[in-house]
C-alpha cells in the first residue's frame, strides 16, 4: 500500500480546501482574465458542441495522496457516490447520445458499487473508461482481480504515470508508488491490456512533477514506450500529456513553493486559440459524487455548477438546457489552453 505522506487539504482544514478561497486567489491577478483572452480570440462565450463524454466522479476517496491532486482526494475523504445517484446517472445517460463514459475519482474502484455500476454501463453500448491510479490494483487482495474485471467488461484503462523513474513518480504520487505501479502495469499486460492487437486498451497519463509545462506528447510517448519496454518489459497504447491546473492541491503547491505567479504567467503566455477552440468541456459533462452537474472535473472541484438553469443536478437532468448552456470559465482554464492544449485525453491543438 502506498505510504500516506500527508492528509488531504480538507483533512488539514487548510484554507485552500475552501473553493471560494481558491477562486479569490485565482482572481487576484494582474494577468488578463481568461474571459478577456477568449473575447480577443472570438471564443466568448464558450459554447457547447454535441455532448459526447459523460464523465462521472465517483468520489474523493483514494488510497493515494498525490501532491498535485485537483480533487483533494485521499484515504481521509469519505464523499463517494451512492447507488441511487449512480441510477440517476444511468437514467440521464440513456437520454444522451454520448459515446463515452469516463469514470474517475479518487480511486473509483474503492466505491463499493463500482463493479455493479460498470456492469450496468456495459449493457449500454458506450465506451467505458476508468481512470485507475494503478496502485489500487495491488493495494489489497480484494482489488487484485481488477485487471480481469476490466477485461470482462472491456473497460478502457487510463492510468497516471508521471515518469518512467521512481524519483519523479514518487515525488508527485507518494513513496513506493512507482514500484507498485510497475507491478500493476505488469498485471494489466498479463491479461492483455496494452498489448498490440489484443483490443484491450491501456493508456498512460503524464503530467509534470512540478511547476512546468508538459513536453511534446508524441516524442514523450516514444520515450515512455522505449524506456518502459527496455527497463520493465511493459507495453501500453497511448500516452496523454496533461497540464496541471491551478486547482486545490496543485494550487497549494504552487503557492507554497512560490511558483504560483510564474506558473500563471507561463500559462497565460502560452495561450493557444486553437487549443481553446477544442477544449473538452465543450463536449463533456462532469457529474459530481452527489449528482451535481459541471462543465468539467476542474469546475466541479471549484464548485462552479453548470450555468443551465433547471438542470444543475441529475434529478432535473435536461439535455436541451445543457446543450444550450454557456461554459463557466475562470483563470484556471488557462491550464487547458496552454501550448498544445490539455484535456483528459491529452493534447487538443
Amino acid at each position: 500500500m502506498a505510504v500516506l505522506t500527508h492528509k488531504s487539504l480538507a483533512g488539514q482544514s487548510h484554507e485552500l480546501s475552501a473553493t471560494d478561497k481558491q477562486l479569490k486567489l485565482l482572481q487576484q491577478t494582474d494577468l488578463p482574465s481568461f474571459q478577456t483572452k477568449l473575447k480577443e480570440t472570438g471564443l466568448f462565450p464558450l459554447t457547447t458542441v454535441d455532448l459526447d463524454v459523460f464523465q462521472i466522479n465517483m468520489g474523493k476517496m483514494c488510497n493515494q495522496v498525490c501532491k498535485h491532486c485537483h480533487v483533494d482526494a485521499g484515504p481521509d475523504r469519505r464523499e463517494i457516490m451512492t447507488r441511487e445517484t449512480m441510477e440517476l446517472c444511468l437514467e440521464a445517460l440513456d437520454k444522451t447520445n454520448c459515446s463515452t463514459v469516463d469514470l474517475t475519482g479518487g480511486a473509483p474502484e474503492m466505491n463499493p458499487d463500482f463493479r455493479w455500476f460498470v456492469e450496468q454501463l456495459s449493457t449500454r453500448g458506450v465506451k467505458v473508461l476508468v481512470r485507475c491510479n494503478l496502485t489500487i490494483i495491488v493495494a489489497n487482495k480484494k482489488y487484485n482481480d481488477l485487471p480481469e474485471f476490466y477485461k470482462k467488461y472491456n473497460v478502457e484503462v487510463v492510468s497516471s504515470l508521471p515518469y518512467f523513474t521512481s524519483s519523479k513518480t514518487d515525488a508527485q504520487r507518494g513513496d513506493g508508488v512507482f514500484d507498485q505501479s510497475i507491478k500493476a502495469l505488469k498485471m494489466l499486460n498479463h491479461v492483455g491490456y496494452g498489448i498490440e492487437g489484443s483490443g484491450y486498451k491501456l493508456d498512460l497519463v503524464y503530467n509534470p512533477s512540478g511547476a512546468f509545462l508538459p513536453p511534446d506528447q508524441a516524442s514523450l510517448q516514444a520515450d515512455f514506450k522505449k524506456k518502459l519496454k527496455d527497463r520493465f518489459d511493459i507495453d501500453f497504447n497511448e500516452l496523454y500529456a496533461i497540464t496541471n491546473l491551478p486547482v486545490s492541491r496543485y494550487l497549494e503547491y504552487l503557492v507554497a513553493s512560490e511558483n504560483y505567479h510564474g506558473y500563471m504567467e507561463k500559462l497565460v503566455n502560452a495561450y493557444n486559440p486553437a487549443a481553446a477552440a477544442n477544449v473538452m468541456c465543450r463536449s463533456t459533462i462532469s457529474i459530481g459524487w452527489d449528482g451535481y452537474i459541471f462543465d468539467c472535473d476542474f469546475n466541479q472541484m471549484l464548485d462552479l455548477k453548470v450555468a443551465s438553469n433547471g438542470s444543475k443536478h441529475l434529478s432535473e437532468f435536461d439535455l436541451d438546457a445543457l446543450q444550450n448552456r454557456d461554459i463557466i470559465v475562470n483563470q484556471h482554464c488557462y491550464g487547458c489552453t496552454a501550448g498544445a492544449g490539455s484535456s483528459c485525453g491529452g493534447t487538443t491543438a
Binding site: Y163, T165, S167, K168, P208, G210, F212, L213, P214, P215, D216, S219, L220, D223
Partner: protein
Amino acid sequence: MKTYYDPEDLKKFGDIKDFQPELGGKFFDYYGSVFKEGALTAREKSLIALAVSHAVQCPYCIEAYTEDTMEKGCDEEQMMEAVHVAAAIKSGAALVHGVQMMNKYKDLSM
C-alpha cells in the same frame, strides 16, 4: 539589493531590439530557427543548450534551459549528465594545456 543579474531581466531580452531593431530581429529569427526540430531533436538541442549555458556560465541561460529541458521531458539525471559534459570539456580544455606547460618546461630544462 542591486545586483548585476536580475532574473526579471530575462523577460526583457526581446527589448534589445529597441536599440537596434534590424540586428536584434535577425538574431531572434536565427535563434528560433536554430532550436526548431531538425536533424537533432528539439530535446537534444535543449540539452546541448543546457550544457553550453554552464560552460559560458550564463545565469539567464541556465534558468531558461533548466526549465526548457524539463518541459522537453528530461529528468534530473540526464540534465546533470549534460552539465558534466560541459564540465568535462571545460576541465579538459584546461588540462590539455598542461601539454603546453610540459613542452615549455622541457624547453627550459637541462
